[in-house]
């Protein structure tokens, strides 16, 4: 590998990173394009096929007349594209069906979409708030740092589960039934906790860097403070930012699933991997375990987390030019 390879080139020389990035890309595209793909309506009940086991045959079916009419009437670009591309064809419930005969594949894709959105919100909040608070605190050091970090401690000591319960109860009491309002409150609560690890790690790193010789050298050259911060401090914080992100995003994904599993997060008709696991758990019984209802959302979550971890590791290594290259 030549010395002049950029971080992106280094990243994609790593086979496991390529695979992880490919998986994440496909999953994201599927989640974002769910309305274009010929998936069954996640809410369509069919009691004639309750608890159907996963299977590959038949792979495709034709929409029922009722569903076809609904699709034909659906406004917007995505259903139009779907009609043009796939007509009345629909993918069969390859992952099996649930207690109401709803297609688990279609439901998993929708659940995945919401889980990914939660992770994206967490990542953005973490990057914006966590990096700003951490870098500011570490760079200023001294009393400012002590004050800011006590504030971070305070934010960290808020019992999030209770806040979520309060928020959900408050929404119920106030008669707000709009499911999207609940999702917004839920995401805002997730965002509240997600930035703290980032702030702590970035602050520690900035504190160590600010007294470093290359910052002194920058000052001696007469650079302005903004120039030093944006061109020398922040680029050196990128590796630790990636570490913090790769710690935070999977944690938030799990936390979202956990809360939804407990019934405190996403609620029907919205779907997340957590609510799917919850209904799989409810359908579980020793005589007829119907394990696919638990396994499908569980495996989806595991694949997502693994891909995120592998990619996070590789990105961190690629962003740090000091590491030896194989």
């Amino acid at each position: 590998m030549s010395r002049s390879d950029g971080p992106v080139a280094i990243l994609f020389k790593d086979t496991s990173a390529r695979i992880a990035a490919g998986i994440l890309l496909i999953l994201t595209l599927v989640a974002m394009g769910a309305d274009v793909l010929p998936l069954a309506d996640p809410g369509a009940v069919d009691t004639s096929r309750r608890f159907a086991a996963p299977g590959l045959a038949p792979a495709t079916m034709t929409l029922s007349a009722e569903d076809a009419a609904r699709l034909a009437a659906a406004p917007g670009l995505a259903p139009a594209m779907r009609r043009a591309l796939f007509g009345d064809t629909v993918i069969a419930p390859l992952f099996g069906t649930d207690e109401l005969g709803r297609c688990l594949l279609s439901r998993t894709v929708r659940g995945f979409r919401l889980s990914l959105a939660a992770a994206a919100v967490a990542a953005i909040v973490t990057l914006l708030i966590g990096t700003t608070v951490g870098a500011f605190s570490g760079w200023k050091a001294g009393r400012t740092d002590a004050l800011v970090m006590r504030f971070v401690d305070l934010a960290d000591s808020v019992p999030v589960v209770f806040i979520v319960i309060f928020a959900v109860a408050f929404l119920r009491a106030s008669g707000i039934t709009d499911p999207s309002a609940k999702v917004v409150v839920f995401f805002a609560t997730l965002g509240m906790v997600s930035w703290i690890t980032m702030a702590r790690l970035v602050r520690a790193s900035a504190l160590a860097l600010r007294t470093g010789a290359f910052i002194d050298a920058s000052r001696a050259l007469g650079m302005s403070e903004p120039r030093i911060v944006f061109r020398h401090l922040l680029p050196n914080l990128v590796p630790v930012m990636i570490v913090a992100l790769s710690l935070t995003v999977p944690r938030i994904l799990l936390f979202e699933s956990f809360l939804s599993f407990l019934g405190m997060g996403v609620e029907a008709p919205d779907l997340s991997l957590g609510t799917l696991a919850r209904s799989g758990f409810a359908a579980f019984n020793p005589v007829d375990p119907r394990v696919h209802l638990l396994l499908v959302p569980g495996i989806a979550l595991a694949v997502l987390l693994l891909a995120l971890n592998v990619l996070g590791d590789a990105v961190r290594d690629a962003a740090d030019p000091r590491l030896p290259r194989p």
């Binding site: 010789a213 050298a217 920058s218 050259l221 007469g222 050196n236």
Partner: protein, 318 residues
């Protein structure tokens, strides 16, 4: 001969805690003439590095004046004029750490020219080529980052960046400690060349007396933040007058082990407790020549003869 760097009456006090005060520098004065090398020697904690940082405008001083080419260096580091910055540049003890690990060498050199405004963009490639030639660096190193360079190359790039600003004054802080012996040899030759060919004025901070003897025209000896002796290198290191300078010279290991042991046994221990602001001579607790007067009044440096450049702050030996 014109004065390139002037330091007069500089004092710095560190306050690590609410009631602690450590006087790092007390009433330090010195001048460096254009094209000359002045060495600042003393043991760890003597204030050499603090003085270097004050001169570079990296450390706030309490009182005193610093002038670079006659321009006042503001006591507040954030207000030091850019005009001063591009005249005097540091070479840090660990040159590798002074180069941003994320940046390629070429970009670091261009940035130095950009920030100092020393070279217009169209002239930069030519100027970089000229600097590399002068410092004995190969062109293909420009695309490397600092971890891909050897110790000597790191130091040369740190020097190249310092010179890229157009600076003709350098502050070298222990410039040989990060290098292996062959690189030390090469670095000393390089400093000599810079001085001869470019007339670079140098403030050399070091406790390496061999380096000082070879490279410096003048010497200032610091002890606990005060100048105890100063003058031409041959005088100060050849016929030291202050008891501390003598002790410093005696601490250098002679090649003969028996002689080394004898000298070590004869050295007084440094058992003086860290006294925030001791009255009298700071060296008095360790001094073999101490008299009562030393503990009362702080001696000022005095010429050893009328009109001599060699001065020592010791009432007993001068």
């Amino acid at each position: 001969m014109t004065v390139a760097l002037e330091v007069a009456g500089v004092s710095v006090t560190y306050r690590p805690g609410r009631d602690d005060a450590v006087a790092a520098l007390r009433d330090v004065s010195l001048t460096v003439r254009r094209g000359r090398t002045l060495a600042l020697v003393g043991e760890s904690g003597s204030g050499k590095t603090t003085l270097a940082r004050v001169i570079l405008g990296l450390e706030r001083r309490e009182s005193g004046v610093v002038r670079v080419d006659g321009i006042d260096v503001d006591a507040d580091p954030s207000r030091v004029p850019r005009d001063v910055r591009k005249r005097i540049q540091p070479l840090f003890q660990d040159p590798g750490a002074s180069l941003d690990p994320m940046w390629r060498m070429r970009d670091l050199l261009i940035e130095a020219m950009d920030v100092s405004g020393s070279v217009p963009p169209s002239m930069r490639p030519a100027r970089i080529g000229e600097l590399l030639l002068a410092l004995g660096l190969a062109d293909d190193l420009l695309d490397r980052r600092v971890h891909e360079l050897s110790g000597g190359q790191k130091q040369r790039f740190a020097l190249a960046r310092a010179l890229a600003t157009g600076a003709d004054m350098l502050v070298l802080d222990e410039p040989l400690t990060a290098l292996d012996p062959p690189a030390q040899r090469a670095a000393m030759d390089l400093f000599a060349t810079l001085k001869r060919d470019r007339g670079v004025t140098t403030l050399l901070v070091s406790h390496d007396l061999d380096l000082v003897r070879t490279a410096a025209d003048d010497v200032v000896v610091l002890y606990r933040g005060r100048v105890v002796e100063s003058g031409p290198t041959t005088d100060v290191l050849g016929t030291p007058r202050h008891p501390y300078t003598r002790l410093l010279l005696a601490s250098v290991m002679p090649p003969n082990p028996a002689e080394a042991r004898r000298r070590l046994a004869a050295l007084p221990e440094d058992d003086a407790v860290a006294d925030p602001v001791p009255s009298g001579c700071a060296f008095a607790p360790r001094c073999p020549l101490v008299v009562d007067a030393c503990r009362v009044a702080t001696p000022d440096p005095k010429p050893i003869r009328d009109g001599a450049e060699h001065a020592a702050a010791c009432p007993v030996s001068v």
